[in-house]
């Protein structure tokens, strides 16, 4: 595959930047969410939605589309941002995150265009993706691929390995699992809480073709996903282990489990977003709703 043009690379970088910005915006405004795992997969989603995957925002259920099952559904802000940027719904929709009729805290496919499944509990998504991939084969649809985006911590779940075993058994080479290997779980490091290593060997032992990539390198991701989509399929499911940094892009959240689930105060979000814009060599830009934020909720004297 030819390398990306400078223009395309700039587009992908802008998408990754906006995915990060919008994730922080919606988590801050909702006063709830998971910044760490959203920031770590910004480049992965940018490349999938703006380079690798065929999707049509005007026809979200288009039969020939590529599917993305978000197994790590707590990182929904990044996916909501990518879908908004892609045009599945207006950008303003992100400020309905965690509202009763808005974007669900985890994922609700019945409410949001572009979502392919509903989720939240970890370890379930790969099974759903196996079902989709099997279904596509039954329908004799050779072009569509099913991507499943998994966290590293959720690889502790037995259900993932049931699904992995079955995907290889069914020879589902239209299935591509992407592991956002950011090394950090909710309460600490993966190696400390429950080690998943040797990870590459595990997937290979389960019968998968393995690709590894720097999950923040847009060119490497583009080449790897292109390979997984078009070149690699040979009767085995494909796993892309994307090595990433949790909380990537803002110093205080990088490699820090305390930002797994944590909504920043508006003033902190403002500083975080200013830092982010400086890192991307963009004009300094803070939190768009600073001073215009919602009041903290109180409920019969409590909160």
């Amino acid at each position: 595959m030819a390398s990306l043009s400078p223009e395309k690379l700039a587009d992908l970088e802008e998408a990754a930047y906006q995915i990060r910005r919008l994730s922080i915006e919606m988590i801050t405004y909702a006063r709830w969410g998971h910044p760490g795992g959203s920031l770590s997969m910004a480049e992965i989603l940018a490349v999938l939605y703006f380079h690798t995957m065929n999707t049509d925002p005007q026809d979200p259920r288009w039969e020939e589309r590529d599917r993305l099952i978000l197994s790590k559904a707590h990182a929904s802000p990044a996916l909501y941002a990518a879908l908004a940027l892609k045009g599945f719904y207006p950008l303003e929709t992100i400020y309905t995150y965690c509202e009763p009729e808005g974007l669900e805290g985890h994922t609700d496919m019945t409410r949001t265009a572009g979502l392919e499944s509903s989720g939240g509990p970890l370890g379930m998504g790969l099974s759903v993706a196996v079902g989709c991939a099997y279904g596509l084969r039954l329908k004799e649809n050779p072009r569509s691929r099913v991507f499943c985006l998994l966290g590293d911590g959720e690889l502790n779940e037995g259900n993932v390995w049931e699904a992995a075993m079955s995907a290889a058994h069914y020879h589902l080479d239209n299935l591509i699992a992407v592991v956002d290997y950011n090394k950090v779980m909710a309460k600490g490091f993966v190696w400390d809480l429950m080690s998943i290593e040797p990870l590459a060997e595990k997937w290979q032992a389960f019968g998968w073709d393995l690709l590894e990539v720097d999950g923040h390198d847009l060119e490497a991701l583009s080449a790897t996903f292109y390979r997984a989509h078009w070149i690699q399929p040979r009767g085995k499911p494909i796993v892309v282990i994307a090595h990433t940094v949790k909380g990537r892009g803002i110093e205080r959240s990088e490699f820090n489990y305390k930002w797994h689930t944590h909504a920043p105060e508006p003033e902190i979000a403002d500083a975080m977003l200013r830092e982010l814009s400086r890192r991307y060599n963009r004009p300094e830009l803070g939190y768009s709703r600073l001073g215009n934020d919602r009041e903290k909720e109180t409920f019969y004297g409590g909160e």
């Binding site: 609700d108 499944s117 379930m124 759903v128 989709c132 279904g135 259900n159």
Partner: protein, 322 residues
């Protein structure tokens, strides 16, 4: 086919397997998935008839339901087949979040539901599936009274869009209904009219209620027997209408009474016109290995127990309305 022919009783699982094949003929999008139990559940009949639409997932029930969700997303009608105990205990989170939450078109048979599991014992005697599945939003739930009822329920399951759980009991049912029997979601039927006490049955317990009504009749008590295969949605009008006439009731289920069918009847009665209700079913205990007769005796679920419950309900009615 023998399994669907009233008059020649066969095990309910036989009728289940044969009805899967029958449905598969008309519904090309129907798939059957199995977790290494197809000769027990009789889902294997579908495998023989339509090998390309049969998917073996191995002993992996969480994956069984997740894969079914994915297949439903692609427009198929999956029947993930396993024992009730594993569908509702092992894989509940998958059933709830990947299937019920987005209301996917998955039809879940709970094989070996309730007490008759051929002596398999506590781990396999699934008594909480009614309570658990009933609590899931979007889920429909039915417990058939005989093989004709099962067949009608399975047809109705495919005809309705969305998730369905239905019980398949490992028991050879005496026929309760004729060959023209139909089933409607949210509709129960009066199988024996009466005015003194309402006996609400579901699944195999409706047959037990009929035998209890015979016992009561000898004492001059005219029991009304109602079959409520559709547990969710439940037929509120039929329940409240019957007790408006009889003034007292018994519920009977092949399951735990906690949160189950009796609880569903109690919910209807307390929110309409409360009357005395005595519930027959497993009373907060695990169900050990044993013959079906021993188990029904130990857990107080025989026709004699139902008749005694009816007398108790009648006594309570009399005390309330002297």
């Amino acid at each position: 086919m023998a399994g669907n022919n009233p008059g020649s009783p066969s095990e309910m699982r036989e009728a289940f397997g044969r009805t899967l094949v029958e449905l598969g003929k008309d519904h090309s999008r129907m798939l059957v998935l199995d977790a290494d139990l197809h000769t027990s559940s009789k889902a294997g009949y579908f495998k023989s008839a339509y090998p390309d639409r049969f998917i073996q997932v191995g002993i992996a029930e969480q994956n069984l339901f997740g894969v079914s969700a994915g297949l439903a997303l692609e427009g198929f009608i999956p029947f993930p087949c396993t024992f009730a105990a594993f569908a509702t205990r092992r894989a509940l989170d998958q059933v709830a979040i990947t299937i019920c939450y987005p209301a996917l078109n998955v039809k879940i048979p709970g094989s070996y539901a309730g007490l008759p599991t051929s002596r398999a014992g506590t781990s396999h005697n699934c008594i909480e599936d009614i309570a658990v599945m009933r609590a899931l939003p979007n889920m429909r739930l039915a417990d058939p009274g005989d093989n004709a009822d099962l067949r009608a329920i399975m047809h109705a399951a495919v005809e309705v869009e969305g998730p369905v759980y239905f019980r398949v009991t490992r028991y050879t049912f005496p026929d309760l209904f004729g060959p023209d029997h139909t089933f409607q979601w949210g509709k129960g039927v009066i199988v024996r009219p009466g005015n003194d006490v309402s006996l609400f049955g579901t699944g195999m317990m409706t047959g037990m209620c009929m035998k209890a009504a015979d016992l009561l009749e000898k004492e001059g008590i005219h029991a009304e027997v109602l079959h409520l295969a559709s547990i969710k949605p439940i037929d509120k009008e039929l329940i409240a209408g019957s007790t408006a006439r009889t003034g007292c009731a018994v519920s009977a289920e092949n399951a735990s009474i906690i949160g189950g069918f009796g609880a569903a009847v109690a919910e209807v009665l307390t929110e309409t016109v409360p009357v005395p209700l005595v519930r027959i079913g497993v009373r907060d205990r695990f169900v050990n290995s044993g013959s079906i007769g021993d188990l029904f005796r130990i857990h107080g679920m025989l026709p004699e127990d139902i008749a005694q419950a009816a007398r108790s309900a009648l006594t309570q009615k009399t005390r309330r309305m002297p």
